[in-house]
């Protein structure tokens, strides 16, 4: 073991300038790779949104004039005697708790029952079985699981609330947006990165009785206006009549059409970014692999001397792997350091990039993979025939 460590240090020291350049190249490669992978992860995470509304026979209605409170779905349904099962609403609110004001989202029963949001911990509203506190879902790590809050309405009446679940800042919550026509309307319009502190049931008839007393009208309404609603239908065949009735007041689009549009956009994004990543991967593999391979060839004489003096081929391979691992790891830590410099991070990455521990791990594995391929080839070559022959051929 002593020999392996000493010889590895020798080899790193031998090409110290080239190794420093290589480490910087690795760090820069990792930073760029993080960006590409982060983008793909972001796109991939968005594909989960499509699952949120799967198997729902639903239509999304957004009025032409989104400030008008008069033309709600409820009014149109009533005027046209339409057969609609439920209307899904999302309300933006500000709720007071312990003298602090929190932005929050209010989901009605239709949204709670029919949307499957990805939770990082805890459970969704429909699994909550207690009746003595209002269940809330924490967003952006604002609260921990099982935390209790005292929510207060404008009359000063207080209601106990308990955190039953949590959604990670990297995932999505359902919010409605005013959007364009059928061809461009995408399910993505519903999915937003969480901006609020928590989600609370809104006008729920099915959740604890305490929720019924919770008078939302006394809370500050932060909604920019009525932007849209989800109409859940009994049968798909009802859609034609419903679409005709709603089309006078706004845009109405089948959820399936929006999912299709969304998947098309995601696919295009994924392929275009995937191609860039593939080309980048090849170029960096050639660059880093080439330099590493060159060093391995230059080090061949050293390995032959080690072999002659008593190192076996496994020890030679261990020296090569330790050398490669040390350089790759140092480059990786330089990348982490640079990533934590906020000016560099802001310069390189947009908000549409999802970087987490797994992104870093993936980047590190990628760098190790490039090194391993080159070093492995070299080690296998060492195993073929006599090292002395290699030495003489080189001479």
């Amino acid at each position: 073991m002593k020999g392996i460590i000493i010889c590895t240090a020798d080899l790193i020291k031998k090409h110290i300038k080239q190794n420093i350049v290589l480490m910087i190249q690795i760090a820069v490669t990792i930073l760029i790779f993080l960006g590409f992978i982060g983008k793909l992860q972001y796109i991939s995470s968005k594909s989960d949104i499509a699952e949120t509304f799967n198997s729902s026979k639903a239509l999304y209605y957004t009025p032409f004039s989104f400030t008008s409170q008069d033309i709600t779905a409820e009014k149109i349904i009533k005027d046209n005697s339409l057969d609609i099962l439920e209307i899904g609403c999302v309300n933006h609110m500000v709720i007071k708790s312990n003298d602090n004001l929190y932005l929050c989202l209010g989901y009605n029963d239709a949204i709670i029952e029919r949307c499957n949001l990805k939770l990082s911990s805890g459970k969704w509203f429909d699994e909550y079985d207690k009746t003595d506190a209002i269940p809330i879902i924490s967003l952006n790590n604002s609260f921990s699981l099982n935390d209790t809050l005292m929510l207060e309405d404008n009359n000063g009446k207080k209601y106990e609330a308990v955190v039953i679940g949590s959604i990670s800042p990297d995932d999505y919550v359902i919010e409605f947006n005013h959007s364009g026509n059928k061809n461009v309307m995408s399910i993505e319009f519903f999915a937003q990165k969480p901006q609020s502190a928590f989600i609370v049931p809104y006008n729920s008839k099915k959740l604890p009785t305490v929720t019924d007393d919770f008078d939302h009208k006394h809370l500050i309404d932060d909604s920019p206006g009525f932007v849209g609603e989800l109409l859940f239908c009994k049968e798909k065949s009802d859609n034609v009549t419903i679409e005709k009735a709603f089309s006078e007041y706004g845009e109405i689009t089948d959820i399936d059409q929006m999912i299709e549009n969304y998947k098309r956009d995601i696919k295009f994004d994924f392929i275009s970014n995937g191609i860039i990543l593939f080309v980048f991967t090849l170029l960096t593999a050639a660059g880093i692999g080439g330099i590493n391979g060159m060093q391995s060839r230059l080090d061949r004489r050293n390995y032959i001397i080690y072999y002659m003096l008593g190192a076996n081929k496994k020890e030679c391979a261990a020296i090569e792997f330790l050398r490669m691992f040390s350089i790759a790891t140092t480059g990786f830590f330089i990348a982490i350091f640079l990533y934590n410099v906020s000016s560099i991070r802001n310069l390189l990455y947009s908000s549409e990039i999802m970087i987490n521990i797994s992104t870093f791990c993936l980047s590190f594995i990628y760098i190790l993979f490039i090194f391993c391929i080159v070093s492995m080839k070299y080690v296998i070559d060492l195993g073929k025939g006599s090292l002395i022959d290699h030495y003489k051929n080189q001479e």
Binding site: K2, G3, I6, C7, D10, K13, K14, N302, I304, I305, Y306, Y307, M308, L309, G310, A311, N312, K313, K314, E315, S386, L387, I388, D389, K392, E395
Partner: protein, 218 residues
């Protein structure tokens, strides 16, 4: 018999049409404390024979017994141990790690040794006249100094056999003579010396001279 080679053959380029039979059914016996010179023209197979004796290469056919042990039955790891403990190598191009110090080069075999080494690097350096150079990089040494460093490295593990491939090939006559004197002194201390050389003067200093030609040992 410390070293006994029987019917040893070695070829290169495998089964291809360019196959070269370097060694053809060679028999060789070397006694303890022997000093043997192996001569022959370039490409005759001297170095290949030396590599096989030094366990750096393996024969295609034949039997090699080292101190009664059949070398062909040893694993790669055991062969490495054997090289480390029993053989010291002195090469024409010195085979030193040029970027490292003399001390580091001399100590290299001890890093791979499975047993404790009692020989002092400083004592060896003093004996060979390179003590003051211990912390000098090998690349800054003269040819004679490099070869003395290589000799120190070859004996730091108290190896029984010294394998020397053209040890004076890259040296001037003064340094060549000094190196040969050192090798002769090693022989006097009981070590078995096997030298490959072109130089008849060096060969004459050995107890036995063997000539290899066309793959056969005369």
């Amino acid at each position: 018999m410390p070293i006994k080679l029987t019917n040893i053959s070695k070829s290169f380029n495998g089964n291809s049409s360019n196959k070269i039979n370097v060694l053809k059914k060679i028999d060789l016996e070397i006694q303890d404390n022997d000093m043997v010179a192996i001569m022959g023209r370039s490409g005759a197979g001297k170095s290949t024979l030396l590599n096989i004796i030094g366990c750096l290469d393996s024969p295609d056919e034949g039997e090699y017994l080292l101190d009664g042990q059949d070398i062909s039955k040893l694993s790669n790891s055991n062969l490495s141990n054997l090289r480390n403990s029993k053989f010291g190598f002195i090469m024409q191009d010195f085979a030193l790690i040029e970027d490292e110090t003399v001390r580091h080069n001399i100590l290299l075999p001890t890093y791979f040794s499975r047993t404790k080494i009692n020989t002092s690097c400083e004592d060896l350096a003093k004996k060979l006249g390179i003590y003051k150079l211990l912390d000098t990089k090998a690349s800054l040494l003269s040819g004679g100094e490099k070869q003395r460093t290589a000799i120190a490295r070859a004996i730091i593990n108290d190896s029984k056999y010294i394998i020397a491939d053209e040890p004076t090939g890259a040296l001037d006559s003064v340094n060549a003579e000094m190196i040969m004197n050192i090798i002769s002194d090693l022989h006097k201390t009981g070590k078995t010396i096997i030298i490959v050389t072109h130089d008849i003067i060096i060969a004459e200093k050995c107890q036995r001279v063997l000539t290899i030609s066309d793959g056969h040992l005369d």
